[in-house]
């Protein structure tokens, strides 16, 4: 079932710069889609159309059957939650719990439901101990998790994440990956904008590659990531695990999805070699 549909969307900024050119794309319910591409490719502009922050100059964007030009961002945001790249652009409340409450109050949730969703979100993202703290004193990783908690608290159908791994250490990235797997298991529709191919590879999303405001590839990540010429054109690098796999003479059945899988295979290969 199609949840978001871009129909021949073009977008020209007020400065006259064309950010999107004739983009057609559909996102199905429960899909995980990653949008990659060089800086200025139009990735962020594309996702800002999903909740009506930007309206197409030409074409149309339909979210859950509603044309984004016919409704407000506040209405669309109930279904599409966007986590922006910089958490400092949204945190303002005097406490973490009020920060999470903010959107739910705007959407008119009942107080009982707000408390229930607040407890769940803080627990899910490991932020319970900061409940009464100011969001401004949290570390970068905690702020990022708080912005995600703020969004998932109101349970939108689609979760859009703009560069979720920027400024995150490896431990935080691992936590984010766990959160993604949980979200995927709950059937959420996820759209991730990222340059971080190493982070995306184990998640194995559907991949949309953008360049110069156009979609230049759309399909399975394992297929697109194998096309070096395409990746070079869009300034996207291959994940290291895929490069390792490509360099092997006696390949396993499919590319490694994580380091442990690669380690196990190499261990087995060594054992077989020594046995010979």
């Amino acid at each position: 079932m199609t949840l978001i549909e871009f129909r021949n969307v073009s977008f020209v900024h007020q400065t006259g710069v064309t950010a999107l050119s004739d983009v057609s794309l559909t996102v199905g319910k429960g899909e995980t889609v990653a949008v990659v591409g060089e800086n200025g490719a139009g990735k962020t502009t594309l996702v800002r159309h999903t909740n009506g922050l930007l309206k197409p100059t030409q074409g149309s964007v339909v979210v859950d059957g509603v044309d984004t030009r016919d409704t407000t961002t506040a209405t669309l945001s109930r279904a599409v939650g966007i986590a922006f790249q910089n958490p400092d652009h949204q945190l303002f409340s005097e406490s973490v719990e009020n920060e999470v409450r903010f959107a739910m109050k705007n959407f008119g949730f009942a107080e009982g439901l707000i408390s229930q969703r607040l407890d769940w979100a803080l627990k899910f993202f490991g932020l319970e101990q900061y409940r009464k703290s100011s969001p401004l004193v949290l570390s970068g990783g905690e702020k990022k998790r708080l912005t995600l908690a703020c969004i998932l608290a109101w349970d939108p159908e689609v979760v859009v994440l703009d560069e979720p791994t920027v400024g995150q250490d490896s431990l935080q990235k691992e936590k984010l990956a766990q959160i993604f797997r949980l979200l995927q298991s709950t059937g959420k529709t996820i759209i991730i904008v990222s340059h971080d191919v190493e982070f995306l590879w184990p998640i194995q999303p559907r991949l949309v590659v953008m360049s110069g405001g156009r979609v230049v590839a759309d399909g399975k990540i394992s297929v697109i990531m194998a096309d070096r010429e395409l990746l070079e054109g869009a300034r996207v690098t291959q994940p290291q695990l895929l490069r390792l796999y490509s360099g092997l003479r006696n390949k396993p059945a499919g590319p490694f999805l994580d380091v442990l899988e690669a380690r196990d295979w190499i261990g087995g290969w060594r054992a077989r070699r020594e046995a010979r």
Binding site: A74, F92, N106, I151
Partner: protein
């Protein structure tokens, strides 16, 4: 909002007015400022405003100055209403509101056509202390950055269901809190980072730093300065001697 905010921000354009020495641009702007204060009839102040628009057209910045006028129009309407309601005649109320527009436009012509670097050179030439010059020019330089921040914060809060246009005036003012707090916090963080970066790059290590670029008056700069001074003198004398102007 974005459209309006562009009316006060410098944009590099190739035009005869942009190429003038920044001191001459300041002089022309000051002349219009003084003339706007001297004019005491509606006809005179409208002519001065038109002259400013001619200069803006020469500077290929007519649209940007137009934005300034559109933005100031609300305040001008307020000035008109207050003066008219509190006993001044219709013509006097119009005079004060158009004078306000002329003053704003004259300063806007200077800021829209003068880069922060040129502004720094002028202030140094006026022997303003270096720290004050730096603080002032940095503030000007950061206006577009802070504006961009404000738009991004607004987008983030709209995405969390905040509706700025909803409710009465009190609610609308309260709706600005989620914008202002992150904006101020980000600006404070940025200023701290900038101070550290400047210190790391030896800011203040020498009392008289040298400049890579300097100001140079060319013959056409001098000509524009002299002609404009002459014109202002003639117009000022005309205003004083012929009240009916």
């Amino acid at each position: 909002m974005y459209w309006l905010s562009g009316g006060f921000v410098f944009r590099r354009v190739v035009s005869p007015f942009h190429n003038l020495d920044p001191r001459v641009k300041l002089l022309v702007s000051l002349e219009f400022f003084v003339l706007s204060l001297l004019a005491h009839t509606v006809a005179a102040i409208v002519l001065i405003l038109l002259a400013i628009l001619v200069v803006a057209a020469v500077a290929k910045s007519l649209r940007r100055i137009g934005r300034t006028i559109a933005f100031s129009g609300l305040f001008a309407a307020f000035i008109f209403a207050v003066n008219f309601l509190f006993g001044l005649g219709l013509l006097d109320a119009i005079l004060y509101s158009v004078r306000f527009l002329a003053i704003i436009s004259s300063t806007s012509v200077f800021f829209v056509t003068t880069s922060p670097d040129e502004l720094e050179q002028i202030m140094k030439w006026m022997r303003v202390p270096r720290d004050i010059v730096f603080a002032f020019v940095t503030a000007i330089r950061f206006i577009p950055v802070v504006m961009l921040d404000a738009f991004q914060i607004m987008d983030a809060q709209k995405s969390r269901g905040l509706e700025f246009e909803k409710g009465n005036i009190v609610r609308r003012v309260r709706n600005m809190v989620p914008i202002l707090i992150p904006l101020v916090v980000n600006s404070v963080i940025r200023s701290g980072e900038l101070a550290e970066a400047m210190e790391s790059r030896a800011y203040g290590s020498t009392p008289k730093p040298t400049s890579l670029y300097g100001m140079r008056m060319r013959w056409h700069d001098t000509a524009v300065a002299l002609v404009s001074l002459l014109l202002v003198l003639v117009v000022a004398l005309y205003i004083y001697h012929f009240v009916s102007f």
